[in-house]
Symmetry: C2
Subunit: 318 residues, 2 copies
């Protein structure tokens, strides 16, 4: 199990999410026995530095930082992570080769987020300690293959020997158990923590998560970088443009800049990007991290005791 | 478990698939202890009648017929099912109200395939004995919400009290166990049986299933009826038309008639529709139904013994 790698109590990782996971959420998850991740994707270098320092002050347990490798300031973010001695780094959305080697030389534990076999193998070749295999149902940026968690976890297990952390479609204890049944060594939970009391998301966005129903999200902007969003006014504009055959330039102009901040941090539910997973439909209340962990454990144990007794036929001598 | 409802030995249903599941596949699955389904979607009434009679001659165990409720000849198909005393009927792709009541009056067991909460509730209101909840990763026709099996099973469990059969993304014993962990009472397996020796699919199509890799399929024709296909030449033509803003009429004309037969039954891998699930990437050989069942059981038992021992933390007193 992945807790042995991260030296956490439980094999539960809180996804590093832009505009949701600052030091407050990450330290609460680490204090609860999971692995909290600060999401650096929405942070300037000095903001990240401040969050890391506050997180260290708030927990003595292991925590990490998630760094999407697609911003020009990545070098500076990695420098801060090294200087501040953050023990665990998750990288995503880019080539893991360069930074994995640097981080491993400095003794850090590294996981890389992937959504297909090819990049899983690349990440392992680069020297990562674990991969996060993220399915189509996940919120935020997503892979082009659209492979779901149910299919992706066994596929990734076929080609790598490092622990696989399942992500996408996991918000309760049943789904955790399903991920372990598929062969995962740990789970990464995003949406449920985005709606946590300790999340830095705007209250209006949290409210829209717990009100989201079956079918409330869609994978949008596939010609740019696919991203799973709540189907709000902005999404409908994108969709209408796509149905008319809009090209990449038109879509880029429509997206503009700062949509994610506008939606998730400033609470503009009409014109902002509201990045969340399909499991939002299963999240019904804003809870503290401790309440979420308590729910996860009791749901998990109930499901596990059901599975322990399960017989495929009445006459199990088959 | 769903075996109690169908009076089968195991809670394993073989999906009724056009051009793949005739009497040979259905009777082999029923003889192995699962529930075999004849896929009536590709059959004229007299062809269905002949398949039902051959299936009855080939097995004394329960079997069923899958009827998509979108063809003009549905009344005739249902008449034959009643006359031939087929005990179990799966309906899909249409309103279950009319036929469920008729079939229940005649003492048949009825399941309806759904992909969202709204239709699950409708099916239960119509009086079905079970629902098949089919996720985005499934092959063939699919729902508009694109909800994956990982998310869909718990969502459907929230709104119905009848047994839920999980479909989509299930081709091995680990995935079966995951489906039960999510709360399913049974599993429906399609792609793996489409590639079985007893499937009536063309040998070239079976070969393309076992050669399919990670990312080989996509959900296409969303403006018409969404359908998951192998990304062959025909798919690329559809995709190119969609990127230019093609409307429904243009896409309908491009699709034409008989594409599924051309691909799956006649083996035209370039111009035919090749309907298969994402799990094709996990299917590596053409096997007999008995070999598939044997694999499913051994994989399931291995995964179950792993889950039985699983502890979320070393100190499980938590």
């Amino acid at each position: 199990m992945i807790n042995a790698v991260f030296k956490t109590k439980y094999p539960i990782v809180q996804a590093g999410m832009i505009w949701c996971s600052g030091w407050r959420l990450a330290s609460a998850v680490s204090n609860a026995g999971g692995l909290g991740l600060i999401g650096a994707g929405s942070m300037y270098p000095e903001v990240l530095e401040s969050h890391i320092r506050k997180c260290k002050a708030a927990t003595s347990r292991p925590f990490g930082v998630n760094v999407p490798l697609l911003y020009p300031q990545t070098d500076e973010l990695i420098d801060i992570i090294l200087r501040e001695k953050v023990p665990i780094v998750f990288t995503s959305a880019g080539n893991p080769a360069k930074y994995t080697q640097l981080l491993k030389r400095e003794g850090r534990i590294v996981a890389h987020v992937i959504a297909n076999q090819k990049f899983a193998v690349k990440a392992v070749d680069a020297g990562v300690d674990a991969v996060v295999a993220e399915g189509f149902e996940a919120g935020g940026h997503n892979g082009l293959e659209e492979t779901t968690t149910m299919t992706l976890i066994p596929l990734i297990r076929e080609v790598v020997n490092v622990p696989v952390i399942a992500a996408g479609g996991i918000a309760n204890g049943r789904q955790m158990l399903a991920a372990f049944a598929l062969g995962a060594a740990g789970v990464q939970i995003g949406s449920r923590f985005a709606a946590a009391a300790e999340s830095s998301a705007h209250q209006a966005f949290k409210q829209s998560i717990i009100e989201a129903k079956d079918g409330a999200t869609a994978l949008a902007l596939k010609q740019l970088v696919p991203v799973r969003l709540i189907k709000n006014t902005f999404y409908q504009q994108v969709k209408a443009a796509e149905l008319c055959g809009a090209d990449r330039e038109t879509l880029s102009a429509l997206l503009g800049r700062g949509r994610a901040k506008k939606g998730m941090f400033e609470g503009d539910l009409e014109q902002g990007e509201l990045e969340i997973g399909q499991v939002a439909a299963l999240i019904h209340q804003i809870q503290s991290v401790d309440e979420i962990f308590s729910d996860l454990f009791s749901e998990f144990k109930l499901a596990q005791s059901h599975i322990k007794q399960l017989q495929l036929s009445e006459n199990e001598s088959e």
